[in-house]
Symmetry: D2
Subunit: 478 residues, 4 copies
Amino acid sequence: MRTPEEYIEDLKKMKPNVYMEGKRVSRDHHLLMYGIRVIAKTFELAMDPKYKDLLVTKSHITGQEINRFTHIAQSPEDLLKKQEMIRKLCHITGGCIQRCMGCDAINALSVVTYEVDKAYGTDYHKNFLKYLEYFQKNDLTAAAAQTDVKGDRSLRPHQQPDPDLYVRIVKKTDEGIIVRGAKNHITMAAYADEIIVLPTRAMTEKDKDYAVAFAIPADTEGVKLITRVAYPRPRKELHCPAEVYGVGDSFVVFDDVFVPWERVFLCGEWPYAGVLAHHFANFHRHSYTGCKPAVTDIILGASVLVSEYNGIRDKPHVRSRLVELVCVGELVYAAGIASAVTSTKHPSGTQIPNVIYTNVGRRHAGVHIYREYEILTELAGGLPATLPYEDEFINPETKPYLEKYIKRKEGIPAENIHRCFRFLSDTLCSALTGVSQVAGVHGGGSPIMEEIIIAASYNFGEKKKIAEYLAGIRSSLD
Amino acid sequence: MRTPEEYIEDLKKMKPNVYMEGKRVSRDHHLLMYGIRVIAKTFELAMDPKYKDLLVTKSHITGQEINRFTHIAQSPEDLLKKQEMIRKLCHITGGCIQRCMGCDAINALSVVTYEVDKAYGTDYHKNFLKYLEYFQKNDLTAAAAQTDVKGDRSLRPHQQPDPDLYVRIVKKTDEGIIVRGAKNHITMAAYADEIIVLPTRAMTEKDKDYAVAFAIPADTEGVKLITRVAYPRPRKELHCPAEVYGVGDSFVVFDDVFVPWERVFLCGEWPYAGVLAHHFANFHRHSYTGCKPAVTDIILGASVLVSEYNGIRDKPHVRSRLVELVCVGELVYAAGIASAVTSTKHPSGTQIPNVIYTNVGRRHAGVHIYREYEILTELAGGLPATLPYEDEFINPETKPYLEKYIKRKEGIPAENIHRCFRFLSDTLCSALTGVSQVAGVHGGGSPIMEEIIIAASYNFGEKKKIAEYLAGIRSSLD
Amino acid sequence: MRTPEEYIEDLKKMKPNVYMEGKRVSRDHHLLMYGIRVIAKTFELAMDPKYKDLLVTKSHITGQEINRFTHIAQSPEDLLKKQEMIRKLCHITGGCIQRCMGCDAINALSVVTYEVDKAYGTDYHKNFLKYLEYFQKNDLTAAAAQTDVKGDRSLRPHQQPDPDLYVRIVKKTDEGIIVRGAKNHITMAAYADEIIVLPTRAMTEKDKDYAVAFAIPADTEGVKLITRVAYPRPRKELHCPAEVYGVGDSFVVFDDVFVPWERVFLCGEWPYAGVLAHHFANFHRHSYTGCKPAVTDIILGASVLVSEYNGIRDKPHVRSRLVELVCVGELVYAAGIASAVTSTKHPSGTQIPNVIYTNVGRRHAGVHIYREYEILTELAGGLPATLPYEDEFINPETKPYLEKYIKRKEGIPAENIHRCFRFLSDTLCSALTGVSQVAGVHGGGSPIMEEIIIAASYNFGEKKKIAEYLAGIRSSLD
Amino acid sequence: MRTPEEYIEDLKKMKPNVYMEGKRVSRDHHLLMYGIRVIAKTFELAMDPKYKDLLVTKSHITGQEINRFTHIAQSPEDLLKKQEMIRKLCHITGGCIQRCMGCDAINALSVVTYEVDKAYGTDYHKNFLKYLEYFQKNDLTAAAAQTDVKGDRSLRPHQQPDPDLYVRIVKKTDEGIIVRGAKNHITMAAYADEIIVLPTRAMTEKDKDYAVAFAIPADTEGVKLITRVAYPRPRKELHCPAEVYGVGDSFVVFDDVFVPWERVFLCGEWPYAGVLAHHFANFHRHSYTGCKPAVTDIILGASVLVSEYNGIRDKPHVRSRLVELVCVGELVYAAGIASAVTSTKHPSGTQIPNVIYTNVGRRHAGVHIYREYEILTELAGGLPATLPYEDEFINPETKPYLEKYIKRKEGIPAENIHRCFRFLSDTLCSALTGVSQVAGVHGGGSPIMEEIIIAASYNFGEKKKIAEYLAGIRSSLD
């Protein structure tokens, strides 16, 4: 397993293909560090005895100790552990741990390469297992690039006026394939070792050139990572853990990129494009049942803190709001537990989370994220929006006024109150706020996507039978 | 194990102390049959090979086969099975299976009698185990009588102008105790073999005469069961399973009732009144994570059915509503699973559900029940409210008109449409409707009670630490 | 203007064409009296000096004093008065005043007959004015029969396998027309003097036989009123105003009914079918902005009362719920005021409420009705569902127990508490409950119908311009 | 009336007492311009014939033409016009027009100075009218400084350990008074001509030194304006109207500030502190019924626009969301109309909005603001959060990729799509976002403040009577 330093060193060695601030930049750009510090924690804590049980496991292919983020789930316990690990790590970085997406991608590939080989006699699964061994041994990180730019949303890939609006195979050679297109909203692509490309939707036969999956190093020739970073407002003197973590999302362009065959995992087998998209979403939404409760935990913790500072902790309406937050977080987590407990073993050996519970859980998180921010705002009052800049807390002409007048309950130092509201101001009123809200709705699939999956997967017929039986339209429940 | 017939025969043998329609009636009164048929199903299906695995288990004290409703949970699997059993049975009876309350009462007593004995050197647990053996061997049913009438809600028991507004010990003798008071909203008391009395709340030392728990036969001298039955509108010709099931709730008066010591399980040990109330609530709310999803299943099934008949099954807003119902039911069920999976083993051997998840689950059900009815109403249209009486479907002068004009989609017989809307009319617009709604909010503890328990049990401090750490107010997460 | 006695006498004189309990019954059937008493109040109070200003106005055609329920609105003030009158009257009858529907029908006809004459050179408006004079002079009541049975909801009228599933013209003669079909959910048809038939939807040219409107006496040959009455649980001794009011809805069959030309107001002019449906809905939804706040007032009043009796009136969560109810009622009422204030004068002289505000108001009521019941349930506790039958409060064997144990706050007599919970039990847990809930959603048009109207009527383009201007896509707001 | 240029020139002449970025700055600081441009529009448009009717009215004291923002409402029409003016102006500046607060402050003073004089024989009203004339003649703008910093929220002003945590009178002299303390969240204080100080709450006799109101020039000796500005992310090339407007809030310190008697409007008459706070809140919340619908209009317009660009404008779920937004905005506006129509004339001549409707309206806005953002996010998709920086759209190396891949529906130029999503990114994911959300909840009084006012003002007794009458507890409605 790598150290955080090794991970960062490896990033520096990569060819610069990240674009920010109008320039091509290398992977030690100060803005990228916000996300890099998040990923680095997943290496650092794997070496911390306190976290080892959560972060380290054994590879089912080599028997070696590996980082859990590179593991293929083999049992319900593996799924439960992953969920728990993600929740804990997100507490430490104050939000999305990011590295789960690569993990979810390899889990999905472990299932679907197996199925495609069964159906088509291909060798994807063998190649995948080789890639997996390399991935685990080198303790790699991967961005999962799924969402295509999609052009006109009412048209299928092959119907688009510009055929490149979904990533597609433009050529096949003996050595591999050439792909073109762009993927959007790709978290951590600018500081991942690898990019794993997956289809974004089900395909028809006419879309078969769009049924493609593969893995490549993130600095492969032709790949352009146009990147935007969301990060907390920088601090001058009032430093704190939250200030160092952020997230970078990339618009990933594939300008005729070559992928060797041993790294291709789907190539034209169009009926499996949707299957792969579905399995990735399922694994990823199970991961969300770990991270979203952590987001709630942070909002809840901040709500408790500011309620105490404001002297309203014991008011009944505060109790109601705090319990409402508990219920959001714990129902999502419960859905993840239920999904693991009722998961199924795939012939490939991979343990597949129960699709109803992963989707019910992810949807519940998605339809409550704005409500959670609303609660924190309600309890915090207006100060997060109007808190004077940190400079005024430093300027000796204004500092005494601010320290005098920010005081609340006796005994709580002005600095603590300042720290609390500075944190709330960043949480509720910085550029990062909206990004977290939008990610809370759309990241990993919007509530309407979960609605579609649930509608397609749920056994409505069984429920209808119950009503028919009770109404006397059918004679028994069976 | 008893047959349903034996259960009914045993009821008939009891002394008549049920009051209905201005009279004292025996336990074969036609209105009581609505509830009796529900309980009878729990005997009948225990003998059905298809349901045996769910309904029959082994006693941990005798090793004999027993009905699961008389079992003390010994493992997470026991809790999972109970949850599953309840969901399935509620499908069959179209709602609350009722017998769980006695089961939850004995589970709570198994824990608390053990603890009181440890603290006070009493013999309650030994007596309880003897009672349990009798209860299991005779395959008994019990109503759990917890909710006192409570008088002025802002006063404690001992502060009430009338000291009888909570059930209390009025005398102790060598043979036993004499109790007086009344318990309200006691489901199935009028057709249970036994009544198990539990405290309704935490008590102070001054309330110690109110810290009392015991079990008595439901026809014990001095017990008066003033009963109201909720049942579907009776049918004339259009019979169906749903029409035969209902529920009776009793206002249970204890007019100086004698209880022998071997059936007393708490008597003045006031610190344990709240503990017992809490454990019963916890087991009972775990049972709710089984029955409430069944209620949702029925509403969902009816929603699917009527949407099909109305020809709107494929409309997007219908999909949204159906999925919303799925999410309510499955999140509650997931909370029950999570509660079982994270349950703990008590020194008495009893497996205690995780209190956060049981309460989060029950609360979720409670805050959505009216919304669920709203959805069904929305999809059904106005006909459940205005459907002509069944007589008009029989009267040859009006029948042809109704059969002609009730037609909807081609191919669905008028009778089926009539059956569907008759069922919906009973579900949405009969006296039973409101009872189900009120029970959905308050039965087993209102959402505000769950809020109180969650607020008291949840580790808010741990969440506050996360915020303090991220804000730089505390240096680490621990 | 008629006295209530005259109204009732006139009903008795009508030919019996009401069907209930499997029989043809006359209009003094005891169940019909529930609705008749409601309508009778609108005659009684018109003679009460205290209500005269609200209930009596001057006819704009004859200058005579008339009941406001027979008036065509001529000004914003007329609309405001109608709204106020309805709210006040609904307080007295404990719910829907019913007579507004005939009023809304004549208002809609006053507009559309005018327009059709302009477009087609017909004489409908002249005939209508003659009918109006007769209607006002005789102080008549009318049921507006709009909703067809509709068969397969995905097919237009002319596409239905059975052409009678929408009311249609089967023949025209020199004297008039013959119509066939059925209208459903027709409130007060069984105790109205007249039935005014209106189209239920927009029609295409192929549906032109379905574009028909007319008025007939409710006992016209061929009309069959298959009726269902919703009413509170009958009382034995504990009488109260609420117990006498209810509502009858009829399934109205038109079995080749003859309508003379002077009472026909639309006959084949298909483009105006939708216009008429729309205007009736608009006037009727404006009436709802009067009655729905009254429903809220009653639920709110009951919530205040039971909170006081339960001793929780001063709890913060109670304040929140009461204010929530205030906001529902007053926002709906405010929408009605805004609709009146921004109403427009039609060339016919009729004042037309602003369609956006009537629909926004009605929708707000419709999406909150279940929530309002939920709040009352929450504050009332479980007793409305389990309150023993009135017989037990009469039976001397049980009465003392009930009177002792129902006591709550000192100083409130047991009878008052009993009255309060009896009323709540009827409000929350009788057959009337569900009918009120379903009516609250679907009566006068479901929320989804308001959504459709708002979506069709609102000036979205104007709002889009604002965004385009701010984003720099368009250069100015105009 | 002043020109915008005169307003800006006048600001420049003021003594620099604004603190930003660690320095004392003058009133032409580039960040202040964001708010100044908003206020300048209120001068500019008063001269635009198209807006004159809305923005210009006649002074009731001088008969001169004045800007409506300096007017004291004399009639319901004045209130309706103000509401309309605010909605229109907010469209132009993309949000809060800010100048209403000074207007609301003078309206409240016009009422309360009159009442205090009646009660105490003081001269405040005469002085106020003199001040008003000066205010109108010079076409001034004023920040209303109401919210004190408040220290420990569970203590009254005089109980605070530090007596300065509410603004107080520290000395009275023959010439005037000396005040000390700080007011927080004071919008536009840094670019207003005047600051009008009002009490933040009701006071007891012991708090009488805190019962103080006055007006001073914003650059008065001893006043310190510690300011934070919220503004959209700056643009480089893609300019648009939205980018130039923002808002500055100040932490206003009163370090022993002298106020001459003729500018003092309350000084120790403690029973009127709450009255004044209440009237200001009432006028200000009525203004909110104008601005909040405008905020909804912008969110709605953006929702329509992005739905069209995304090709989903005709989807049913989009229709539902758009109508939901319409309903939020129009119900708030309707509440403002109802408040104006049912307003009352105060003996001072001022027209006072109906307090129930202003508060019902403001609360409705406050409890939906996060939901409105949620809807826009839902319809926009994830791109607002991940849209690459503007630099990458300029950099010739990345520009062609972005322009190729951002394309959606045929026929919509890449630039328009870019403009749309850049605007959405600023609306949903910039520092301004959270500020708008927090202001939407807390600005002008949080929903819980409206709840308190409604609970205190609403006639619950009248509603209780209705329930008592219907239940038979009272014999009539009166």
